[in-house]
């Protein structure tokens, strides 16, 4: 979308080559502003090119940073990484602006005013750790060493597992939450429970691809989006969506649909495939479990194309044609995501999608859901204490499956604020997770954070969540640190290393260094609390003596950080793969077997990474496609995908169904302050069908009020023929309430102020497309 009604001239800041505030000092305590006054880049001295992995979104594309005089002046794609296909997106290019954002959290801060007011005093790292220590001692003493009173969370990223090792393993809390329950856990769960693996989708290998809602050209996922953009003439892309996204508009065919009715479409395709014997009977016979039950169920429910038309608004002829084309194709793929959970039937939808892929035989084969062969990395062993008084997690109570790792945010929050949790949660450590923007009903999140005695935020930016913290710890950006080596992908597997590009600016530190400092401060005092309440520990001390009980029990929180990350990576990689692989990872950022032999340019920056016969399309593995899930039936849910009347698309009178999504140049609220990206899409607009807008006398740029049962926002209007007449949409991630985020403060509207908080009960995921809103021109 390009809305040009606004002048963006006030953003005359200039890009990085113009004005850079950085420092070449290795220990950047005092900031030395440095300004390059020539817009063109003529500094060729001290030039370094460092391979790194991007972190502007979840993809981790490989880039090469050009560093001149210790300043990052340009980011180019790294051609060696199979996953990112030698490209860097707008966000990746603007990563330089994240590094040099003048609004970054620069020093450790302790709150002096009311939560949310944004008043903080600058303190030393030691003062910040000391403050945290004192609070934790008090809280854990009051809670009699129930470690789970300290909840901790971390959004998507490389360091998440290490963060869990620290707070879950070493400190001992059961309450970890991550983005999965406000993202795609139903997709992962449905795939895992149906075929025993989360799989990977081979987009490039498919000749007929159906996308349900996944907006792959405005929400870039590598390599999927790139492979879709580079699709050849013989490959067909079909997009089904209640909004004509760029992906829909670029597709071979676009099918508009009613919100939340995708399941009806898939059930009908399943019905047609079974009824007309279109499916791959050989594959079904060999791999399906309980197919007879599924067949009987689908036929009995009579999910005809006519029935589906009444639910989805897609003409029945088109449903029939789509089904025939899908099963006629050589390598059809019903693309499994990825996207957030929208409707309460999402788990069932994803299941029905896996099953339909199965009916086409598109599992463990080229152009299907593949298992592949990831490169296995060795694990670092650490010793974690067992705390006698640490209680279990409670956020999966009432949820059938749920992620044992990342839990359910909405259930957790609800139980905390209604005080129905089995014990009090008194402290929260929040990293790379903007709670005050990322989940429906912000008022409830605010209430939860206000109930805490200690909130600590580790972040690079003074986000809406950061200003709810007692202590803000400045983490460095991805360009300022090395992270642990990561194994990527299954079809064309590789290892990739995020090298440090420049030293951390200001007083920021890497997560490892932050946890090391915190660990040093906390190990002994928290051990003292356990000594007081933990009978097992008391016995162990009697038997072994205090020193040995401490060391052998794993109470030393700094255990993992005795060596720095560079040393750890080197040892880990050299031990299993040898010195040459480590050197390749340092020099090129990427390694995979036979990289020198197999990596070659085909044409104009398009590379081949693995020859066709070396890709892991099909692997020798026993698996079943499970049609029937007994556990669901036992818990009162449909054991097989089924349509329920309550799923019908019905919008309240004089209202619209509010749906959400994003612009291509933003990653949720994480990039919202980036001056370069902000310059591309200065504010968000609400999409409203042009005919309806005309009736309501709403024109482009008019300010409208959007009101739901939980709140209201003001936003500018974008009347368009690209949206369903009963639906409105605007992009997530706008309008910070933190004044320190100078570009995003008070700009546009935040969807989560009006989206009602509901979650589905199979995975505990927040659903996002059930809120009806009223619109009024202001």
């Amino acid at each position: 979308m390009k809305v040009i009604e606004i002048s963006r001239r006030r953003f005359l800041k200039g890009s990085v080559a113009l004005s850079v505030y950085a420092t070449s000092s290795l220990n950047a305590v005092t900031l030395i502003p440095k300004s390059i006054t020539q817009p063109t880049n003529k500094i060729f001295n001290n030039l370094k090119e460092i391979p790194f992995l991007c972190n502007m979104c979840r993809n981790k594309c490989a880039g090469i940073a050009r560093v001149e005089e210790s300043i990052v002046t340009k980011i180019d794609p790294n051609p060696f990484f199979p996953k990112s296909r030698n490209m860097i997106c707008p966000k990746g290019n603007a990563g330089i602006q994240a590094l040099y954002d003048k609004d970054r959290v620069k020093y450790p801060l302790i709150r002096v005013g009311k939560r949310g007011n944004g008043n903080y005093k600058r303190v030393t790292w030691d003062e910040a750790y000391e403050y945290i220590k004192d609070k934790l001692i008090k809280i854990l003493d009051e809670q009699k060493d129930n470690r789970s009173t300290i909840a901790y969370c971390n959004g998507e990223g490389f360091n998440k597992d290490e963060y869990i090792q620290f707070f879950g393993g070493k400190i001992g809390s059961a309450n970890f939450l991550d983005e999965g329950s406000i993202c795609l856990n139903t997709k992962l769960g449905a795939t895992l429970l149906t075929i025993g693996d989360v799989g990977e989708m081979d987009v490039a290998g498919s000749d007929f691809l159906i996308l349900l809602g996944a907006n792959r050209f405005e929400s870039l996922i590598t390599p999927d989006s790139v492979d879709m953009a580079r699709m050849q003439k013989e490959q067909k892309l079909i997009v089904v969506d209640p909004r004509a996204t760029v992906t829909a508009l670029k597709a071979n065919e676009y099918l508009p649909i009613n919100v939340g009715t995708d399941l009806a479409l898939i059930l009908s395709m399943t019905y047609i495939a079974i009824k007309e014997n279109l499916y791959n009977s050989e594959f079904v016979k060999k791999q399906f479990k309980d197919f007879d039950k599924y067949q009987e169920h689908i036929l009995k429910e009579r999910y005809t194309s006519q029935w589906a038309e009444s639910k989805t608004a897609i003409p029945k002829e088109k449903i029939e044609k789509l089904t025939k084309e899908f099963f006629d194709a050589e390598r059809p793929l019903l693309y499994m995501g990825r996207r957030s959970v929208w409707a309460k039937n999402d788990f069932q939808l994803r299941r029905a999608m896996v099953l339909l892929n199965g009916l086409a035989g598109s599992i463990n084969r080229k152009g299907g859901i593949i298992f592949g062969e990831p490169i296995k990395l060795p694990q670092e062993e650490i010793n974690s204490p067992i705390y006698d008084n640490a209680e279990g997690r409670f956020d999966l109570d009432g949820v059938v499956y749920g992620s044992r790792k990342g839990g359910s945010w909405l259930n957790f929050r609800e139980k905390v604020i209604t005080k129905t949790a089995p014990y009090e949660v008194k402290a929260m450590f929040i990293r790379k997770h903007n709670l005050m923007q990322n989940m429906p009903n912000i008022a409830k999140t605010k209430k939860m954070l206000e109930m805490m005695e200690l909130v600590v935020v580790l972040d690079t930016m003074p986000t809406d969540t950061a200003i709810m913290a007692d202590v803000i710890l400045p983490e460095c950006t991805y360009l300022e640190r090395e992270d642990k080596v990561v194994s990527f992908n299954r079809l064309e597997p590789s290892l990739a290393l995020r090298n440090q590009v420049v030293q951390p600016l200001y007083e920021s530190k890497s997560m490892q260094d932050i946890l090391k400092g915190l660990g040093k401060k906390l190990s002994k005092p928290l051990f003292e609390i356990s000594k007081k309440y933990d009978e097992d520990l008391q016995d162990s001390i009697k038997e072994l003596g205090e020193k040995k009980a401490f060391n052998e029990g794993g109470y030393d929180f700094v255990e993992l950080y005795k060596k720095d990350i560079t040393q750890r990576n080197q040892e880990l990689i050299e031990k299993k793969f040898g010195k040459d692989v480590y050197k390749t990872l340092k020099d090129r950022g990427v390694w995979y077997p036979n990289i020198d032999k197999h990596h070659k340019e085909i044409f104009n920056g398009v590379y081949e990474y693995y020859p066709e016969d070396k890709k892991f399309y099909s692997v020798d593995r026993k698996f079943k496609v499970n049609c029937y899930l007994k556990k669901l039936q036992k818990n009162g849910f449909d054991p097989m995908p089924t349509w329920r009347d309550e799923y019908d698309f019905k919008v309240a009178k004089d209202s619209f169904r509010m749906i959400t999504g994003r612009y291509v140049m933003f990653t949720q609220s994480a990039t919202t302050n980036n001056s370069m990206l902000r310059d591309l899409e200065h504010t968000n607009h609400i999409w409203i069908n042009n005919k309806i807008a005309k009736e309501k006398n709403i024109e482009l740029g008019d300010l409208v009020e959007v009101k739901s049962s939980i709140g209201k926002v003001k936003i500018k209007a974008y009347p368009t023929n690209k949206i369903h007449p009963q639906v409105v949409w605007f992009a997530h991630g706008y309008n910070s309430t933190s004044e320190s985020m100078t570009n995003s403060y008070g700009n546009g509207a935040n969807d989560n102020e009006i989206i009602e908080d509901k979650f589905e009960k199979i995975y505990g995921c927040a659903t996002m497309h059930h809120t009806d809103v009223k619109i009024r021109k202001l």
Partner: protein, 187 residues
Amino acid sequence: MANYGMAFDYKLCINCRACEVACKEENGIELGANKHRLWIETKEPSGDFWNLNREKMDFMQLQCQQCEDAPCLKACPHDAIYRDKNGIIRLHDEQCDLSLDCVKACPYDARYVDTRKNITDKCIFCADTRLDRGLMTTACQVTCPSKVRIFGDLEDKNSEISRTLKEREYFQLKVKKGTKPKLFYLK
């Protein structure tokens, strides 16, 4: 010595605007919607939501067309505009007095005013930021997810651009103006 040109597999564009950001970062372009060396012109679908007509809809990559017969070069009263050794239309910054004759003369709307340097600026194929370093790619080209742009020497018969133009049909923009643009849009 070369004669640089660019071909566009323009239908592959998904309007992600990576090229725009890469250009701004590489060349230190002023921020602002009307300040750019390259941009994507979008044509929206027509019709009703349930029956959108996408025939005329497209994303078109626009920038200086590096005309062989460049109206801007002729229009400049101070001879500030010149063709460099690689056939790229450039500007002697110090000779520009913002008469804006070149801006008016350009049929492609390729020039804008850089208010910091007080010059008219436009795409120069990253001549001073990349080609001078010995790189053989432009920032927009190399970053693109779908690899829309093919850049290279039109004189070199074996270059990717020469081979592409030999193999595929293409069109140029506003050929009737007689500008002989060196940007080619692949059909």
